[in-house]
């Protein structure tokens, strides 16, 4: 895999975003439309009650070549959940998917906790207006914690093939107790689920990507694409603690390949992309999304500061 970086292509501070959002354009994910590419991302407002962040979904439409911004959403794409709901305090990210005439969005909903910062779950919201706005399928999640996936289920990436739905996602294995200046820290791993209807999912609590750091390695946001006969997965990973400001312990992109879409071989050395010497992705790379459009393969991703100042693009060099 050899990627040609095209630099940062979206800066949220340069646009008027809905819901009073100013910073952050995290976890860009593409929906291929007739004559453009819609890229959803998560941006943030401040909760007026306590100054904490609230993540909201917005989108930006690009020309098919990804060279030109056509439009930016002005409306609320998905309202946040109600009092006590799993997605009351944020939706970050979503995985958009065309299903017939509708667009499904698999959301990661955030709600705040007391002893730890947050709990998450995977929700489903459905659009009947080509992805401009979405309505929740129920007020609860389609995937929450289970016996051996005890916390922090999230980061769904969903595709349809052979009449079934495949989901790659993450679940938390544990929270690490706080120590010193380090708050309680979560550990999460990539897993796989399948579904007939996109609502009821079958899963088994197995982590499918081996660790390269240690058992507390955090793996997030899997994105999967079949190119030719081979399956490719990108994701991001980091150390469990001291990852926010210590660049050496922060997010990098990981890579795995598979011949059958089920059994994966981790191969970060052949990811074909790494942080730059300078620029927007010089200390961190995270939240990758790969997609194909008109024979070209693109990689959207966030750089430094978890995408506070936008996301960038790379294109796969093909023979």
């Amino acid at each position: 895999m050899n990627w040609i970086k095209r630099g940062k292509i979206f800066d949220p501070t340069q646009h008027a975003l809905s819901n009073g959002c100013i910073d952050f354009a995290q976890s860009p994910q593409a929906l291929i439309c007739d004559s453009f590419v819609r890229v959803y991302f998560s941006t943030r407002a401040r909760d007026p009650r306590n100054g904490k962040f609230l993540s909201h979904i917005s989108y930006v439409d690009y020309s098919n070549s990804m060279d030109e911004i056509i439009d930016v959403s002005r409306q609320t794409v998905i309202p946040l959940g109600g009092l006590g709901a799993f997605d009351e305090h944020g939706i970050f990210p979503i995985s958009p998917l065309r299903v017939g005439e509708q667009v499904y969005a698999y959301t990661t909903g955030w709600s705040r906790r007391v002893s730890v910062s947050v709990e998450t779950g995977i929700g489903l919201a459905i659009s009947d207006d080509t992805g401009k706005t979405f309505v929740r399928h129920g007020s609860g999640p389609v995937m929450g914690p289970i016996l051996n996936e005890p916390v922090l289920v999230g980061d769904a990436f969903v595709i349809q093939r052979n009449g079934r739905f495949d989901m790659w996602y993450i679940f938390g294995t544990k929270w690490i107790e706080p120590s010193g200046n380090e708050p309680s820290a979560r550990v999460y791993k990539i897993a796989y689920a399948s579904s007939v209807d996109g609502i009821e999912w079958v899963r088994n609590g197995d982590a499918i990507i081996t660790d390269v750091l240690d058992k507390d390695e955090c793996q997030a946001l899997p994105t999967v694409l079949k190119i030719g006969e081979r399956w490719h997965m990108y994701f991001c990973y980091r150390e469990a603690t001291d990852f926010r400001s210590n660049a050496a312990r922060g997010y990098r992109l990981g890579y795995a390949f598979s011949e059958d879409g089920r059994t994966w071989t981790r191969d970060d050395d052949n990811s074909g992309i790494d942080i730059s010497i300078g620029g927007f992705d010089s200390t961190m790379m995270c939240y990758p999304h790969i997609f194909e459009n008109a024979g070209r393969v693109f990689l959207l991703y966030n750089g430094n500061d978890f995408g506070r100042y936008g996301f960038g693009l790379a294109e796969l060099e093909q023979d």
């Binding site: 109600g82 009092l83 006590g84 709901a85 799993f86 009351e88 305090h89 709600s111 705040r112 906790r113 007391v114 002893s115 730890v116 709990e119 779950g121 929700g123 489903l124 929740r136 399928h137 129920g138 007020s139 609860g140 999640p141 389609v142 929450g144 914690p145 289970i146 016996l147 051996n148 996936e149 005890p150 916390v151 938390g172 544990k174 929270w175 690490i176 107790e177 309680s184 979560r186 609502i199």
Partner: protein, 318 residues
């Protein structure tokens, strides 16, 4: 109508010499019959912390099988420790319902966590005992019955039953949080799930019991017993707001079914109401009905939802 003779309060943790974690409350009694005793699992609490917050543990008291007003033993430690940091059951294991599985015991319990915008969330966990039901170990760190699109939060009050070679779980699921003078209060309804092994559950995704006091009615403790070929459910219900006093507090309701799926509510049949005076004069709640040596008994909570223990009644006629 069921007619009950009240036997008075049976167990009160506030007047006994109980350990610190069992200072107050004996909530949601649920029995298991042994050769010489009736074990009553219940949930209790240490005093509230400096912020007025409680944790809850589950425990048991053994009653003499020949005289259930006589106490033989009280558990010396909680039957289950609290859950791990960040887990669904970090701050409470309440209520609990226990079934025999071969020579083991399996407990289904409500696990409590604390939230920022609302006070708590609850999901149903599962644990097994290999020491005769005295202590239990979790099957996993996560819940066994968890949130779903139409059961978004507050899955609690599990009652485990086995009928016709199937496992039935009756429980409650939160519908919405409402504000009562700015304080979030949960509205919950009685639901059920079915399983072949007690581990993998299929939710019925349907309210079992219609409301009788409006949309904001909260229903709890769906306790099902098979008597004379018919299924009987005793439960409790309260108003959505202002329910901590007598007028809008918990009362005991009743429904019956021939197939465990379709239930007919008729609260006038329940036959157990608040007393004129005494420990159950403001509210009655969390009924549990069981058969013992030819008699039928109900255990239930009185005022302040069991802060001062639970009592019993004996069925006289129906």
């Amino acid at each position: 109508m069921f007619r009950w003779e009240k036997l008075g309060k049976i167990f009160d943790p506030t007047v006994r010499d109980t350990p610190p974690w069992m200072q107050e409350f004996a909530q949601a009694p649920a029995t298991l019959i042994f050769e010489d005793r009736v074990r009553v699992y219940f949930s209790c609490r240490p005093p509230a912390d400096e912020n007025g917050q409680y944790v809850s543990y589950s425990a048991f008291v053994d009653l003499d099988r020949r005289d259930i007003t006589s106490i033989l033993d009280v558990s010396e430690e909680p039957i289950l420790p609290l859950g791990k940091l960040g887990a669904f059951d970090e701050f409470g294991t309440y209520p609990v319902s226990v079934a025999r599985v071969g020579d083991k015991f399996r407990a289904y319990f409500g696990g409590w966590t604390r939230c920022e915008s609302v006070p708590f969330n609850v999901a149903i966990g599962c644990a097994e005992s290999s020491d005769g039901g005295r202590t239990f170990a979790r099957l996993g760190d996560g819940p066994i019955v968890s949130y779903s699109p139409d059961e978004p939060f507050v899955l609690s009050g599990p009652k485990i039953r086995r009928f016709n070679d199937k496992w039935y779980l009756f429980y409650i699921a939160g519908r919405r949080w409402i504000l009562d003078n700015g304080r979030p209060e949960p509205v919950y309804k009685i639901r059920s799930a079915i399983s072949l092994d007690g581990v993998k559950w299929t939710k019925r995704s349907k309210d079992l019991i219609g409301d009788s006091i409006g949309d904001d009615e909260a229903q709890a403790s769906p306790d099902v017993i098979l008597l004379d070929g018919k299924y009987h459910m005793f439960f409790c219900y309260r108003h959505g707001k202002g329910y901590r006093g007598k007028e809008k507090g918990y009362r005991i309701g009743y429904a019956s079914s021939d197939n465990l799926l379709d239930w007919h509510r008729d609260d006038s049949m329940a036959g157990l109401a608040v007393s004129e005076e005494g420990w159950d004069s403001e509210m009655v709640s969390y009924p549990h009905v069981f058969e013992l040596d030819g008699e039928v008994y109900m255990l239930y909570l009185g005022d302040q939802v069991g802060r001062y223990g639970f009592g019993a009644a004996r069925l006289i006629s129906r």
